[in-house]
Amino acid sequence: MPDENHVGKEEVSFMKPSIVYAAVLPPKRYKEYSRMDMYGMLFQQFARETGVSKNDIEAAFVTAHSFGMAEEQIIDYLKLSPKRCAAFDVGGATTLFMLKQAMTLIESGEIKNAVILGAGKFDDVDREMALLSTSHPDFEAFAGPSMPGYYALFAQRYMHDFALTEEELALVSVAQRKWANLNEDAFMYEKPLSVQDVVSSPYIATPFRLFDCSIPLSGGGLVFITAEKTKNPVYLKGYGEAHRYGFITTNEDFTSTSAVKSGARAFDSAEISHDDIDVLEIYDAFSICPVILLEDLGFYEKGKGIEFYKKGRGEPGGDLPLNTYGGLLSFGHPGMPAGFHVFVEGVRQLQGSCGKRQVKNAKTALVHCYGGMFANHITTILTNEQ
């Protein structure tokens, strides 16, 4: 029996885009494959598992490459003819940015679906180009900074201001490794890690030692978003983005980031509270990052983020699981598409497809990614409830 309210709901639900497929290419060295081949592998798996034809894809967004043309590469390699296609670059936050663009275009009725993807080879970068693009080429590069060094500037100042010790900071990498040990796709799946292992590993950029740093590898991911009704949909419930500085020289706060704003914006738009979050996926290129971000996102007071680790809250069996795939620290970091690793896990937890590492009854996930030198922040809140 048709009921006006019921009909209205059906229309809304049809137009509401949802994420229906999310997968990563497990990080490895992939020496024999080009980045284009990796797009091919991601796409093949997607087509096989969903039955979606490439001819039905209306938008394709891809993480940019240093010398451009990523959009040409996917169009050419996969022979796509979408209504919308572009390469984007917000560093590690690019995945979440592309997700928002896809959602907005679908909600506006311009397109019915979108595929977003990225592949990177962080284990094979032109180091000179990396230095001159992460630093101001004329006024920073001459000092010889490195990417771990830039993030170490935050760790150093944080440890100074809040008396955080190296042993305490090591808890972050140890917690990540526990999740990685449950995930066969994680690069460090078979390797346990102790606090002693972390604090006796060699310095890379003080205060960071080897195991405070993520593992540069090759990998990527692919996500499909559609307005059509399908099984296991995941919805974008909240989104917040914020930017504060560009190059690190002008950053005036080394213990807090613009995640304060992106997080508040995401919670405001989702109209939920912190208590509603069941699982956290937070970009962790270096051990200090999730400590600062747990505070900036409002889960802890400034200076107290390490309590989360001391209590084991984010570990397997904890009350607020964090980076359930092993994190970039133990799963692997493919460069700009690393956001796929973080985001795909959030989606899959809500789809209930995480096997041994599945968080029971996960309904709401917070996924946070950043780009640049901890500069560009995007927070999303996902849910599997309409």
Binding site: E128, P137, A143, A152, T249, F254
Partner: protein, 132 residues
């Protein structure tokens, strides 16, 4: 490989000053503030009422890191070395190599900017403990 630091009319006074041991900073006459890095406009007001003024070289370490892995090959022979963010008394921050005994470098250390010939150019460094 050594990259040439490109100069243009907006950045040249900084590097020319360095050659003469002077720390020259762009100053916005409209905002009455220094800014760094040098550029075509004042990033506060986006106008170009800018002149260079010589500033005091003294400042302190906001934060730093000692590197044991170099970003690129050209820095490998210099390892280990420290770099950090320096807050100058004139209000701007600079990202500089930090000289001196590595274990004694700490947040808050004061010192001053000096100039060294590096990779064929005269460039600023920070020397903790040195009065300007």
């Amino acid at each position: 490989m050594s990259k040439k630091t490109e100069t243009n009319p907006y950045t040249e006074p900084f590097f020319e000053g360095a050659k003469n041991g002077k720390l020259m900073m762009p100053y916005c006459r409209d905002c009455e503030k220094f800014f760094y890095h040098p550029r075509v406009l004042c990033p506060q007001c986006t106008k170009s009422d800018v002149e260079y003024r010589e500033v005091e070289k003294s400042g302190s370490i906001v934060t730093f890191s000692v590197l044991y892995r170099a970003p690129t090959e050209r820095f490998e022979k210099e390892l280990p070395y420290a770099f950090g963010v320096i807050k100058l008394n004139c209000g701007v921050q600079m990202l500089l190599r930090i000289e001196g005994d590595l274990p004694s470098i700490a947040v808050g250390n004061s010192g001053s900017v000096d100039f060294r010939e590096q990779h064929g150019k005269v460039l600023p460094v920070f020397v903790p403990g040195q009065a300007s």
